[in-house]
């Protein structure tokens, strides 16, 4: 028994252009689809929870893969979570739990709600004092901008590596080195960058780096993680079964088990493993070059039309935010989707503060590309948008 085929809804009967990769990448590479099918058909490797043998240890291999992408020699310090939001919650709340007393935290106006909401919650509860730093006119943050905001009790800085609205990428290593001189812990939100652009934390300038698997690492939804340099700085906020040290009624403190309680998302981890392999075999520089070329082509074509109001004309990540003069962005997105089969995202993209600066919080239409997109798809989007503008 199962769901009858006619009740499994399909949308693949009409071709469409998918430009919503900053939310979730699609299509997934064949190797990702195949490995997920495989782990759903075969029993999974479950460390310490099964006598099953001769099956692939995807968790260890995916951990090593993330370690290679980040440039760390310590893959055991890579922890699996549900997604970047889950990682950031564990890191932010865990840091506050580990450091008693009220202290000062800095973040920026570019951040996603996965950063802002945990921090605002802690601020509301009186656990932290929060400063939201205004990024520069080029949507970058520098040590010179951070310096005046630092107080004697500043202990934490939470920084988005790449903006999901503007596509700016921060020099996190430069910022990290500056913060370390002041004794400030740096948590980086790398949801938009890992797999899409070079990330290197080998110099130890970043204390914690959160990532997700379902965007530019081409895994499925529900898998993400973080790298943590020093586990002494972050208290664990979850406890439970680990498949190891079961006699101990307290949760293990060794890495990565300290932060991994309960059965893992094995299909997600396997998809992450395959996605990492895809990224590595494609080459991150080639991925970045391809998407940069497509973005430049889109921007150069769209900006010729004055009715297309582009917020970011030189993005470092493959995201383009724009509005169409005289048309609500939600309406424009709906028309692009329904009349032209072009999938975008509209609204605030879960990053409300930067939209206040851009256009008083009205939001935008966002095109976000991946390595899988083509110039022909860009042409289809350009034609549709220009037709919408010119009527």
């Amino acid at each position: 028994m199962g769901i009858p085929p006619d009740q499994v809804e399909g949308i693949m009967d009409r071709p469409f252009v998918y430009f919503n990769n900053a939310a979730t990448s699609w299509p997934k590479p064949d190797c990702v689809v195949r490995v997920v099918q495989k782990v759903l058909v075969e029993p999974c490797h479950e460390t310490g929870r099964s006598t099953l043998h001769d099956v692939r240890d995807y968790p260890s291999e995916a951990r090593e893969g993330i370690g290679r992408l980040l440039g760390t020699k310590y893959p055991d310090h890579v922890v699996f979570t549900q997604n970047a939001t889950d990682s950031l919650n564990i890191l932010i709340h865990g840091f506050v739990k580990q450091h008693p007393g009220r202290f000062h935290v800095i973040t920026t106006d570019l951040e996603h709600n996965s950063v802002l909401r945990p921090l605002m919650t802690l601020s509301h509860e009186g656990r932290i004092l929060l400063t939201i730093l205004k990024s520069g006119n080029d949507f970058h943050v520098t040590p010179e901008m951070i310096s005046p905001e630092i107080r004697d009790d500043t202990k934490l800085f939470v920084l988005g590596h790449g903006s999901n609205v503007i596509g700016s990428v921060q020099d996190m290593r430069h910022i990290g080195r500056f913060l370390h001189e002041k004794g400030i812990f740096l948590i980086v939100d790398g949801a938009q960058t890992l797999g899409q652009t070079q990330v290197d934390i080998s110099d130890g300038s970043v204390d914690a780096f959160a990532f997700t698997g379902h965007k530019y690492l081409f895994g499925i939804q529900g898998i993400g993680g973080f790298y943590l340099k020093d586990p002494q700085e972050i208290a664990a906020i979850k406890q439970g079964g680990t498949g190891a040290d079961s006699r101990n009624l307290f949760h293990p403190v060794d890495m990565p088990l300290k932060y991994e309680a309960g059965t893992a998302n094995y299909p997600g981890i396997a998809s992450l493993y395959a996605g990492i392999k895809y990224v590595e075999s494609s080459g991150i520089d080639r991925i970045a070059d391809h998407t940069r070329d497509l973005c430049r082509y889109l921007i150069s074509s769209l900006q010729k039309e004055p009715g297309v109001l582009i917020d970011n004309k030189d993005p470092e990540l493959p995201v383009i935010s724009f509005n169409i003069q005289g048309l609500d962005n939600e309406d424009a997105g709906l028309i692009l989707a329904r009349a032209y089969n072009i999938v975008t995202r509209t609204g605030l993209h879960c990053a409300p503060l930067i939209h206040e600066r851009l256009n008083s919080g009205k939001g935008s239409i966002r095109l976000s590309l991946s390595f899988q997109n083509t110039r022909e798809e860009c042409d289809a989007a350009i034609d549709a948008i220009l037709e919408l503008v010119t009527g």
Partner: protein
């Protein structure tokens, strides 16, 4: 008619998939109950219907999808009205008198909700 839901900026957005694409007559029909704006020059005209701040409908002619945004506090009343509205339009001879009566009652109820009466 099937529906899915998403919450955006405090309002509730529901997507309804109709059995048949809506013809262009939907625009004139909706005008009787609120403000309609349409991009009529498009090959597949886009329309928005607004009944004050109570709820709005967006969609395209010749499409099966309708996107309806509700205020959460009054949604239980407005969704019933929306359903009747579309069911009424589906019939060749909608009972306009009945729909107008419902429309008036809905506005009365919403006013009552917003003033704390319900």
């Amino acid at each position: 008619m099937r529906k899915s839901r998403r919450c955006i900026d405090g309002t509730v957005l529901r997507e309804y998939t109709l059995d048949e694409p809506v013809p262009v007559g939907i625009i004139g029909f909706l005008e009787q109950f609120g403000t309609v704006k349409a991009l009529a020059d498009m090959e597949q005209p886009f329309y928005t219907f607004r009944m004050g701040d109570i709820f709005n409908i967006k969609g395209m002619v010749d499409d099966t999808a309708m996107f309806v945004r509700y205020q959460p506090a009054s949604m239980s009343h407005t969704e019933i009205f929306f359903t009747r509205l579309i069911e009424g339009f589906d019939t060749n001879a909608p009972d306009l008198e009945e729909l107008r009566k419902m429309h008036g009652e809905l506005i009365e109820k919403i006013t009552s909700v917003s003033s704390g009466g319900l």
